[in-house]
């Protein structure tokens, strides 16, 4: 699968650009603010029906213009597919596949599988456990439809139980029977989710580790540990034991909503002890492993967008990563870099189809 031609009109700072792409490596080179990331965002948009960066659609229209248009010609299993998105100010966006407009945007998600690796990914290490659970849940629910359903059910039960705790506390009446009803249901759903997360990490970890080793050249040991209260005891026991405490806290302290993925580097927390380059290598490997899951699921190679990937990585890691993504395991890739020579030099001796574009003030020229 690949994008062969892209036309961008009035999308952020790009006024009018139309270019043909390489099936393998495409790099967008230019100074800060030139519009390199905007090109990747346009491609992202055609896959996810929304911007990676700006969720307010109208703000993606170029200032002082009335609309934007993104039009991509993809090849899927040898067939050409035109994906079109047009947005006029104050109107609903039009999203079309081969001239036919989608009724529901959700129907388009997954047609063009794509993984974006962005500088903001390091938030996965930096921020709270919520982000890491979302990351994990996002991957699992793509291949396991029942998982998402169970998760929504669990979250609703949890919200009901918390509300029940608040009511009981407010009225000064501790009533176990009505809490038990929630506890037993939370137990059933939570246990299912716990097992599924455990199973997921068992499959995901070796793929992740392999990518990390390839990028870092085996320089350090990193690991992901699934942390869950449910590894210690059945959820029902935990909920029962903590019921009185939960009542006082007016909040459910036990369950899979407390799960986390612990990221370590040589036994220590990545967040505190990883260097910036190590963290970047780590999140890049997280995304590449996600790529593998998506590839397996869709039975085709997703498009890979690498935005400012070289920012924090040393020359060895940059070279290792470029070698990795240019292998046949990966498909079409898009890279941005502020340095005009780095990427072309890296591919100089390789026999990899490569197209270079210079981006300057929103205009794009092939080199």
């Amino acid at each position: 699968m690949h994008l062969s031609e892209l036309s961008i009109v009035n999308f952020k700072n790009i006024q009018d650009a139309n270019f043909e792409l390489s099936e393998k490596v495409n790099c967008f080179l230019g100074n800060n603010g030139a519009g390199k990331t905007t090109v990747l965002d346009a491609i992202y948009y055609l896959s996810f029906c929304k911007s990676f960066f700006n969720p307010i659609d109208s703000q993606n229209i170029r200032h002082d213009e009335g609309y934007f248009v993104l039009d991509g010609k993809f090849f899927l299993d040898g067939e050409s597919e035109r994906i079109f998105c047009g947005l006029k100010r104050n109107e609903k966006k039009k999203f079309k596949r081969n001239q036919k407009q989608y009724d529901r945007l959700a129907d388009h998600i997954g047609v063009i599988p794509l993984v974006m690796i962005a500088p903001s990914d390091t938030a996965l290490i930096r921020e709270g456990s919520d982000m890491r659970r979302k990351f994990m849940d996002g991957i699992i629910s793509q291949y396991n439809k029942a998982y998402l359903d169970t998760l929504l059910h669990y979250n609703r039960l949890l919200a009901q139980r918390n509300a029940m705790l608040k009511h009981q506390w407010a009225e000064g009446k501790y009533d176990t029977t009505s809490l038990e009803v929630f506890d037993e249901q939370l137990h059933a759903h939570g246990t299912e989710l716990h097992l599924e997360r455990k199973r997921f990490l068992e499959g995901y970890l070796p793929i992740f580790s392999n990518f990390y080793q390839l990028i870092s050249g085996g320089a350090e040991e990193v690991n992901i540990v699934y942390q869950s209260q449910l590894s210690e005891a059945p959820l029902l026991n935990l909920l029962t034991e903590h019921r009185k405490r939960d009542y006082r806290a007016q909040y459910t302290t036990q369950g899979i909503h407390k799960d986390d993925l612990e990221f370590t580097i040589g036994e220590y927390p990545m967040k505190k002890f990883g260097s910036q380059g190590q963290k970047k290598s780590f999140v890049t490997s997280l995304r590449l492993a996600q790529f593998d899951y998506l590839k397996e699921l869709k039975q085709r190679k997703p498009i890979l967008l690498l935005d400012d990937i070289f920012d924090k990585l040393d020359d060895n890691r940059v070279a290792a990563l470029m070698k990795l993504v240019s292998e046949d395991h990966f498909g079409q890739i898009f890279i941005t870099d502020a340095n005009l020579h780095r990427v072309p030099d890296l591919f100089k001796d390789e026999n990899v189809p490569l197209k270079k574009f210079v981006v300057e003030k929103g205009s794009i020229d092939q080199l």
Partner: protein, 206 residues
């Protein structure tokens, strides 16, 4: 839409407060009232007043009732050994209209949903427990919506009732009658497979 009369405005906005009624429809209803025979319109109004002032609830099952005991509870042919627990009047009416049920009811008045401020004590559980304590009832049917809140409520009742020596049952869930399997949603089909029935038993339902 600005209306040229305060009186008109008031009635329109009351109609508008009803579920499923927008402003245009509310205006249409109001104008229709004005078109009616004056006497009919006055009777309409009086019936609303009478409804609100006089309608009562059955002291046994909490169904709506003109007297102390509702028509169903008072009916000599209804089987008082079976009590069907429903969320509200609408569900009671739906079951009645099947003409397949001869037992009596218990109207809970809602389902447990702490998020909406409804806990067990806001529902008619205690009167159900006292009814069962009398010892006539042999089976309680949980006929609550198949939502998380409905399930939670059934489960709560089940816990509360387990000390009574009474059979508890719940409505069958599964593929709708006349539906093709391939068009049945995954969740329903999944549950139907899990809750499958012995064939001879299932046959009798057709």
């Amino acid at each position: 839409m600005e209306l040229p009369s305060k009186l008109l405005e008031k009635t329109v906005s009351y109609f508008e407060s009803l579920p499923g009624v927008g402003r245009r429809t509310a205006l249409r209803y109001t104008l229709q009232l004005l078109k009616m025979q004056k006497e009919d319109a006055l009777n309409f109004g009086a019936s609303v007043i009478k409804l609100v002032e006089e309608l009562g609830f059955c002291s046994i099952c909490h169904n709506v009732s003109d007297g102390d005991i509702c028509q169903i509870c008072a009916h000599p042919k209804r089987d008082t050994e079976t009590i069907c627990v429903v969320e509200d009047l609408r569900d009671l009416l739906a079951i009645e209209s099947t003409s397949q049920y001869y037992g009596v009811y218990h109207v809970l008045g809602g389902v447990i949903s702490p998020l909406d401020g409804i806990g067990p004590k806001d529902l008619h559980f205690e009167s159900l427990v006292s009814r069962l304590a009398e010892g006539t009832c042999k089976e309680v049917i949980f006929a609550l919506p198949s939502t998380m809140e409905g399930d939670t409520t059934s489960f709560y009742m089940f816990k509360r009732l387990k000390d009574f020596n009474i059979k508890t049952t719940s409505l069958a869930r599964g593929v709708a009658v006349g539906n093709e399997l391939q068009y049945t949603d995954e969740l329903t089909l999944g549950r139907s497979i899990q809750g499958r029935l012995p064939y001879d038993n299932a046959m009798r339902t057709f």
